[in-house]
């Protein structure tokens, strides 16, 4: 059976991103959001330094793209910071991460408003489901307490 290379890369992304939800939680169980984020950033920079030799020979990039990518990194990392904070405040990884991944809800709205993109029926259904899901996911079960003895 021939497995295309792109599928292997896609599965790596799927699994690695999925694991990060749990490692984020394990990190904030042990240290603060701030220290977690700092070391998350150190790892990102270490990875960038490893791939830098591949990038430099092909360094032809428009100024606009350069700054959009940098600002994108800042926004994404601020989001990483707030997701660390959500987990440190007691949020479960299995609830916080799917909730955060509803962000395309906003991306699509912004793309319609500013990039003049249109919405498909399936995306419209997705928006409705996302709104209901967000409300349901925020319904935390009450903490279990001992029943008073009668």
């Amino acid at each position: 059976m021939h497995i295309p290379l792109w599928l292997v890369f896609a599965m790596v992304a799927l699994v690695f991103w999925g694991i990060t939800g749990v490692t984020q939680k394990l990190s904030t169980n042990a240290i603060s959001t701030e220290l977690s984020f700092l070391w998350f950033g150190v790892a990102m920079i270490a990875l960038a330094l490893i791939v830098l030799p591949v990038v430099v020979p092909h360094w032809h990039i428009a100024t606009k793209d350069f700054w959009l990518a940098v600002v994108g990194g800042t926004l994404n990392s601020l989001g990483a910071y707030t997701s660390f904070a959500a987990l440190e405040k007691g949020g479960k990884a299995s609830i916080v991460i799917p909730l955060c991944y509803l962000y395309p809800l906003l991306t699509i709205s912004l793309a319609i408003a500013f990039l003049h993109e249109t919405l498909t029926r399936l995306q419209l259904l997705g928006i409705f489901l996302a709104l209901v899901a967000a409300v349901l996911l925020s319904q935390e079960a009450p903490p279990q307490t001992d029943r008073p003895k009668i």
């Binding site: 792109w6 991460i97 991944y101």
Partner: protein
């Protein structure tokens, strides 16, 4: 509250990414992304909340692994697109990564969801998939 802030920040990032030229390859993207992380790291450095913790070594190790896996995942995602994967297949498929988190949360962290949250999880996974089409 923090989860909603994450949706806001990642939502704007997603729109911004759409505006970036497709000429940007996976590695360049990762390098520029890391440049963008620097100002946030600088702010966090002066937060005064870098001490303490129940197990610093373990916490730092997991945070570092998060960064490596997250960054490698980003590169793999862009490589999947450049190796011939159609965006209409790669984007919805990789958007299901929270399923991996939910499964690992259940088995490794022994997390349990309330009845409402279980329904919410199913709807969220369906919504994430539909929104990425």
């Amino acid at each position: 509250m923090y989860s909603l802030l994450t949706i806001l920040l990642w939502g704007i990032w997603g729109a911004l990414t759409k505006a970036i030229s497709s000429d940007l390859d996976a590695y360049t993207n990762q390098v520029l992304f890391s440049v963008g992380v620097l100002p946030v790291m600088a702010i966090v450095l002066f937060s005064g909340r870098l001490t303490g913790g129940v197990s610093r070594r373990r916490g730092i190790l997991y945070a570092f692994i998060t960064g490596i896996l997250g960054g490698t995942g980003n590169i793999a995602f862009f490589k999947a697109l450049s190796e011939g994967g159609k965006a209409s297949v790669v984007v919805p498929a990789t958007s299901l990564s929270p399923l991996v988190t939910v499964a690992l949360g259940f088995f490794l962290l022994k997390e349990r969801a309330s009845g409402y949250q279980k329904v919410g999880l199913l709807l969220a996974i369906a919504a994430i998939y539909l929104l990425s089409l």
